[in-house]
């Protein structure tokens, strides 16, 4: 995320139209290409031989692993022969690092594709309008819906944001702009807090809010648990964003006779605006899928309860978590539908966050333009 934020502040590169031909700077030379493709082909042959004839294992994955290992051995030896040991090590390191980089991405794609593939076909429009009141374990998987869970999630996450976002950004402002005596211990506390396991956050709210203060399990309790998880995230990311605001701007504002408050509210926060919005949305995307703390706090329900302040509520992740463990095929399928909606929700939030994060601080929105025109400043 930091790169997004970075970009918001240093983004002024314009693409110029150029007709001259540029020198192409190649990292890879022709010899390399020949060595690589040669190695790939011979490794393929070798692994075919081994795989089919010698090893009694099967499966595409095993074959690919085999191929990969052979490829590395052959190509490294080839580079060694042609270019010497230093280059060979460089080559080997490069392949490993490329592989490692890809290894992080492959499962992500697998996960998304799998969940989407599992979930989309039972999704009907009524998923967004109905609850599970008239649905039994044996009803068809397309019947009923998750509206109660979606409403619950939106309310809980909304309430949690209402608590955490102002508190978190204000704390970040304290850390970065006021920089008072508490700043140092506070940073440590925030770091520690961001390590609180989500289940512990739920346990804490259960202990403090429900057991000690005598409240019931409801949407609010859930949102408090989410807030505990959300707060450190917002604070940390906002602090990073505020730190990226060049100190020169603060000095310029102070040099104009600006007070601390006005410097923060009129210069620092507006400059960091898109970064802050990104931070908040990414934070929302993270808590929206939290399941563990809600198991302890919201209670769960199969029917619509649009009042987060009283009565048990459901939430989308909890809905999925409960249904997936049913033995009936239809219930499991309903859970997949819920998971699909959840993933789409997270993806949409993520894309919005990145789109906003890509804007520079000098982006003038349409509403701002209108406001400026009204004031005669444009």
């Amino acid at each position: 995320m930091t790169t997004t934020l970075n970009r918001t502040l240093n983004d002024s590169s314009e693409d110029k139209i150029n007709t001259e031909e540029r020198i192409k700077i190649r990292d890879i030379e022709i010899v390399d290409v020949i060595v690589m493709s040669g190695s790939a082909v011979s490794a393929l042959a070798l692994s075919y031989f081994f795989f089919q004839i010698l090893l009694p294992v099967s499966g595409v994955l095993g074959f690919l692993v085999c191929w990969y290992v052979f490829f590395n051995i052959i190509s490294t030896v080839a580079v060694w022969e042609l270019r010497g040991a230093v280059k060979a090590k460089d080559h080997l390191a490069r392949t490993f690092i490329w592989t490692g980089g890809m290894a992080a991405v492959v499962p992500l794609i697998l996960v998304l594709v799998y969940v989407i593939g599992k979930g989309y076909h039972s999704l009907r429009p009524q998923f967004f309008t109905q609850d599970q009141k008239f649905v039994g374990a044996l009803s068809d998987s397309t019947e009923g819906g998750g509206a109660h869970a979606i409403i619950g999630t939106l309310q809980q996450v909304g309430l949690a944001s209402l608590i955490s976002v102002p508190l978190g950004i204000t704390t970040a402002v304290y850390l970065n702009e006021v920089n008072g005596r508490l700043a140092k211990p506070l940073r440590i506390i925030i770091d520690a807090m961001s390590a609180v396991p989500s289940i512990v956050a739920g346990l804490f709210i259960y202990a403090a809010w429900i057991l000690a203060l005598g409240n019931q399990q409801n949407g609010l309790a859930g949102s408090l648990a989410l807030a505990v998880l959300f707060l450190p995230t917002v604070t940390r990311t906002s602090e990073v964003v505020l730190r990226l605001v060049p100190g020169g701007l603060r000095e310029a504002s102070l040099a104009l006779g600006g007070t601390e408050w006005r410097t923060t509210s009129r210069v620092v926060l507006p400059t960091a605006r898109s970064g802050l919005v990104t931070a908040v949305i990414l934070g929302v995307a993270r808590v929206i899928g939290e399941t563990a703390p809600l198991i302890l706090t919201v209670g769960g329900a199969f029917v619509m309860n649009a009042n987060p302040f009283s009565g048990k509520q459901d939430s989308l992740p909890y809905f999925v978590f409960r249904l997936i463990r049913f033995p009936q095929e239809a219930q499991v399928q309903r859970a997949w539908t819920g998971a699909f909606v959840l993933v789409i929700l997270v993806l949409v939030l993520f894309i919005i966050a990145r789109a906003i994060g890509g804007r520079g601080p000098d982006h003038i929105s349409r509403s701002k333009k209108r406001r400026l025109q009204r004031k005669g400043l444009a």
């Binding site: 020169g248 701007l249 006779g257 410097t263 400026l372 005669g376 444009a378």
Partner: protein
């Protein structure tokens, strides 16, 4: 003694600054020692000297920007029109409003348009103006900074959409909009081309009647062109910087008293 100078008073006067026995530290490292300098009202004072001798540090003590660096401390006394700026007679925000500053690198506020940038100081120091006054202020400040003709049709663009030289003049206009009595400039032209530099020097000459200007520059020609008085700073190795010589610019450049000054202004060291 309070700061009851009518805000935006059109007849406000340039103020004199007097620094007496100013020393500065960063942590335990002393970077400036016993600086005495009188910056007379309505005059342009140039601070010259090799890199690292404490010119910027001194300049920043003059409007209390020095104390923003966490480890920074200072000693001595700085008076504006006879009133101490450090011991609470004037609120620090008023000190900074009355003693404006233009930085080495142009730093218009990125989240504001050109016009908003000019009047940013009003918002930041909480001054209220009518719309007509504000529009007038925008035009007059941009005119004074020599930028009006170039940007009058682009007032709604983001401040950073201007060129470097234009941005720097925008920053000058921004400083002028709060009617400072003193304007501090730290190498304002070091990032600019000769044309923009000339334009800013012209601006300095024009505003110096109503504003006292203190300018740090590495450009000897510039010091000669714009300043009335000149102070030469020098720091020996591992020692704090001091003023070696100060006086009328003509004197400093034509027959300096100290041989080190002579060497420096003639480009023989530093």
């Amino acid at each position: 003694m309070s700061s009851d100078i009518a805000l935006l008073d059109p007849g406000h006067k340039a103020a004199g600054l007097t620094a007496t026995n100013v020393s500065c530290w960063f942590g335990t490292k002393k970077v400036l020692e016993g600086v005495n300098l009188d910056m007379a009202p309505g005059q342009v004072t140039a601070l010259i000297g090799p890199s690292g001798c404490g010119k910027s540090t001194f300049l920043r003590t003059l409007n209390r920007m020095h104390e923003l660096v966490p480890s920074a401390t200072l000693a001595g006394e700085i008076l504006i029109d006879g009133v101490d700026i450090y011991r609470g007679a004037i609120p620090v925000t008023d000190v900074r409003r009355r003693i404006g500053m233009v930085f080495q690198k142009p730093n218009p506020f990125p989240a504001m348009t050109v016009a908003e940038n000019v009047v940013a100081g009003l918002k930041l120091s909480g001054m209220k103006v009518t719309r007509a006054e504000r529009d007038h202020l925008i035009e007059s400040c941009l005119t004074k900074a020599g930028l009006w003709n170039e940007v009058k049709n682009r007032l709604g663009d983001p401040g950073r959409a201007l060129s470097g030289g234009q941005q720097q003049r925008l920053c000058i206009a921004r400083s002028l909009a709060v009617s400072p009595q003193v304007l501090l400039m730290d190498e304002p032209c070091s990032a600019l081309d000769p044309t923009s530099t000339r334009r800013i020097e012209q601006t300095i000459s024009e505003i110096s009647e109503t504003v006292t200007v203190v300018i740090v520059t590495h450009n000897m020609q510039q010091a000669q062109r714009v300043s009335h008085r000149c102070a030469f700073f020098l720091a020996a190795e591992n020692e704090p910087g001091r003023i070696i010589e100060e006086g009328a610019t003509r004197e400093i450049f034509s027959n300096p008293v100290d041989p080190r000054t002579n060497d420096y202004v003639n480009g023989r060291f530093g």
